[in-house]
Subunit: 347 residues, 2 copies
Amino acid sequence: MTLDARKQNVLLAIIQDYIATAEPVGSRTIARKYKLGVSPATIRNEMADLEEMGYIEQPHTSAGRIPSDRGYRYYVDHLMKRAELSLDEERMLFNSYMTKVQDVGQVLRRTGRLLSQLTRYTAVVLTNHYGKGKFKHIQLVHMGPQQAMVVVVTDAGGVHHRIIDIPESIKPADLETISAVLNQKLQGKSIENIRLTLVKEIYFELAKQKHILNMAMDLIRESLAVQTGEKIFLGGVFNILNQPEFHNVEKVKTLLGLLEQEQMLAEIMADVMDAEGVTARIGEEMVNEQMKDCSMVMSSYSVGGKPMGSIGLLGPTRMDYARAFTVVEYMTKNLSLVMERLLGRRS
Amino acid sequence: MTLDARKQNVLLAIIQDYIATAEPVGSRTIARKYKLGVSPATIRNEMADLEEMGYIEQPHTSAGRIPSDRGYRYYVDHLMKRAELSLDEERMLFNSYMTKVQDVGQVLRRTGRLLSQLTRYTAVVLTNHYGKGKFKHIQLVHMGPQQAMVVVVTDAGGVHHRIIDIPESIKPADLETISAVLNQKLQGKSIENIRLTLVKEIYFELAKQKHILNMAMDLIRESLAVQTGEKIFLGGVFNILNQPEFHNVEKVKTLLGLLEQEQMLAEIMADVMDAEGVTARIGEEMVNEQMKDCSMVMSSYSVGGKPMGSIGLLGPTRMDYARAFTVVEYMTKNLSLVMERLLGRRS
DNA sequence: GTTAGCACTCAACATGGGAGAGTGCTAACA
DNA sequence: TGTTAGCACTCTCCCATGTTGAGTGCTAAC
C-alpha cells in the first residue's frame, strides 16, 4: 500500500497536472513538465503500476491517465502541500472582515461569498444554532385589529418573527403585558427546554387578565415554535458552470437539484462536525450517489469552544484541494473570531 | 399595419406552434395541424407577406419561420386568448394560500415559488416597501458587555435587526429606558421622515440620563439607517435550464450573471409599476442588450390601494404568454389579498 | 533497472455524399 | 383574381469514411 518516492512523484505530477488542465495526463507531458529525471517509458511503467493499485485510471486506451478517487485521497492524505494566499487576497479578506458587521446572518452570507470568490467553487455555510441558543427577548407588537407580530431574539444573535392572529379584544397594552410576563419567565432559558416546564407557570400568571387567557396558550406555543435546526447559506452556486466537467446542462441540472435539498447538505456537513480541522469528502465518499463526481472540503467553526456550524467548498473531484484546504481553514478561523466578537463572548 | 383575418390566423398558428415545439414552423405543418382550409402553397404566400412586414423570420433558407419580437408583440396585443388554470392548479394554489402565513418575506418567497412551479419559468418578486412604511416598534436587547441588538418593526411587516457596539457602562435597564423613549417618540412616524426632525427631541429626553447620552445619538442614527429601498426574491432560477434555448452553458452563465444584478431587475420592474394590469416586455424591449432573447411578463400588486411591489415571470421570448399572463394576473390578485389580510388592512 | 523503438488503439476532426424539410416560382385552374 | 399543384433549388442534419495525433504496451537493447 505504501508507494516509493518515484511513484509518489509520478502520482503527484499526474494529479497536479490534471487539476490544472482537466485533461488526461500522458507520460510525455510528465517527463517534460515535471523533471523527474527519467524517460517517458519509465514513467509509463510506473503509471501501469499505479493504475493496477487503483490510484489512477484510463478513460480509454489511447488517452493519458486521470486520478481515481483513491488517488485523490492519497494525495490529500500524504502528498498535498497547503497553498498560501497571495498578499492581495490576504488584504481583501482583511478588508472584508474589518467592515462593520451587523448581524449573524450577514456574517454567514459574507463568508459564503468570500469562500466562493476566493476559489471559484460553490460555498456552503451551515449553522446549527439557528433557532437554538438561549432565549434573550420576546416582543409582541400590535399590527392590526386581528394581527400581532411576535419577535424572538436568541443569544446566538438570531431574530425570528412571525405574524399571528389575535382576537380583536386584545389591545396593544395587553400585548405589552404579555410580553413582559414572557420576558420575565423565559429569561435566559434555552429555547429547547422552554416548551413544557414553563408554560403552566405563565398560564397562571396571565390568568389574572382573564380576557387574554384564551389566546395566551396558543400564542406561547406559536411564538416558541421557532423554526429550529440548521440553516444553510450557499455562495457562488453558479461557479460550477465554470468547471469544464459541468459544461453539460444535464449534469448542472441534477447537481443544482441536489443543492436545493438542504437537508442532505446539512447531513453531509453535520457528519464532519466532530472532526478536528479541515476534512475532505472525495467523490464516492460523498453520501449521495449522484454527487460521486464532486468533492467537498469542510471544517466546522465554533464560538466559545462550542461548535456552531460548518463551512465547506463544493467542487468537482478534480478540485484544487491544496487551495481549498487553505482557504477553508483560514475562513474557519476568521469566522469563529468574528462570531465571538459579534456575540460579545470571549473564549 | 393591420392584418387580414387569414394572415392573423397564420401568424397565430406559427406562434402557437413555435411556443409549443421550439422548432421553426413550415407551411405544411400549419396546413396539417391548424385547419385553415387552404393549401400549404397559399400559406407560403401569406408567410412571405408576414415576413416582409416583419412579424416572422427565417433562420435560414430551407427552414420554417419563427416569430420575430414584433410578431410576439402583435400576438400579445391582438391575438392572444388568456389560458385558464386547470382544476388541479386552482386547488394547489388554494391550498398554498390557505396554509398559515407567518410573515411578509415568507409570503413573497412562496409567491415566487408558486409562480415558477406553475410555469417552469423564473419568477421575480420585487417589494419596494422593504425598510419603508411606518415605524411600529423598536427594541434594544442587551447581547453582551459591549453589544446590543436593535430590532425595528415597520407596519409593512418588515423586521430589521442589527448588532451594534455599546459602551460597557450601558446596562440592560438603560437599554429598556432608551427603547421606551424611542418607541414613544417615533410611534407611527414614517421611517423616511424620522431621521432629522425627531432626533433632537429624543436627545433632550435622554439627557436626563447623562451616562447614556454619549451613545444615544449614534444609536439612533444606526438603528434608523435601516436598509432601504427594494428587495428582490427569485424563484425557480434553474428553470431556465429546461428551456431548449438555454442548453448552452455560456448563455446560461451570462443570464445568471444578469439575474444577480438586482438593481437592474428592480429597474425593469419599477418601470411597470404605474401600468394597469399585466404587462409584457418582449425581447429587444428589455432594457438590457444581453437579455434580448428573453421576455418578462409583469404586474404590480398593492395593499390598501397603494402599490407595494411587482411580480414577474422571466422566460425566453418564446415563452407561453397566454399562460404567463393568466398566472401573473391570478397571483397578483392573490398576493394583494394575502398581504392585506396579513397586515390587517382592508382596502 | 532504464530506455529507444515500434506497432497498435482510439478519440477528435474533417470530408463528402445522401435524405429530408422547406422554400419560391411558374403555370394552370376555378 | 385568388388558389393550388408541381418542380427545381437550398440548406441543415446525419452518417459513413478517412486522417491525424496523442498515448499506450511490449520487446529488445543498453
